[in-house]
């Protein structure tokens, strides 16, 4: 299995609070991605990173920010959580033009 961990694995929070999810890899891959998975939508890309401090937006980036200060860590922050951000969040990593490998996921519930 690709060395990807996500923390926390489960979180329940209240509307309006900030939330940070962490993705950690041990593969030294350049590319890292955050997706959310919702019924009927498959997976949708939130943000991605193509190097330390290099990030860009995906399809559904509103309300989310990211940071990558080290190769191995990619953080996803919900600046002010809303109920529409209740979802399962997956981190993925890849080498250039290679298969993306997914982490175990974080189940986030916003009340």
């Amino acid at each position: 299995d690709a060395g990807i961990t996500q923390s926390p694995r489960h979180k329940v929070t209240e509307t309006g609070t900030p939330v940070t999810l962490r993705c950690h890899q041990t593969e030294n891959h350049r590319y890292m991605y955050w997706y959310r998975q919702d019924p009927g939508h498959g997976l949708r890309l939130i943000h991605y990173s193509y190097g330390v401090k290099d990030t860009d937006k995906g399809e559904v980036s509103d309300g989310y920010s990211v940071s990558r200060s080290k190769t191995e860590d990619f953080l996803l922050t919900l600046e002010s959580a809303t109920s529409s951000q209740t979802s399962v969040y997956f981190c993925a990593i890849s080498a250039f033009s290679d298969t993306q490998y997914f982490g175990p996921g974080t189940r986030l519930t916003v009340l």
């Binding site: 498959g42 033009s97 993306q100």
Partner: protein, 112 residues
């Protein structure tokens, strides 16, 4: 804008039968991926298809790619219960960053 459509969305089949899942996409792409997801689990990579006419097989699953038709198929031969899962196709959106656009998934239920 690249769109990816899978059909069917749900497939119930009997063990021993054959079936095909279809993945259509709207714009030119060089790479197509198939993933499997078991309930409550992460996504597992099954196949990467990199060129027109590419065919890959693993066990009872075979994937193919027709870039001219913008179509990939995942064929299941003699289904067994262990193949029950959700299957996703994903298309590379182009550029150097390997951004993937996913289909909505096909939930496969193989009945004994």
């Amino acid at each position: 804008e690249l769109k990816v459509e899978q059909n069917p969305l749900f497939l119930s089949m009997q063990e021993g039968k054959n079936y095909t899942i279809y993945c259509n996409y709207s714009t030119t792409s060089d790479r197509l991926y198939w993933y499997r997801q078991d309930p409550g689990k992460s996504l597992e990579s099954l196949f990467v298809l990199l060129s027109n006419g590419a065919v890959k097989q693993e066990g009872r699953l075979m994937a193919s790619l027709d870039t001219k038709a913008r179509l990939s198929t995942l064929h299941i031969t003699a289904a067994v219960h262990d193949l029950s899962a959700t299957y996703f196709c994903a298309v590379d959106g182009g550029g150097a960053t390997n951004k993937l656009i996913f289909g909505t998934g096909t939930l496969l239920a193989v009945q004994p």
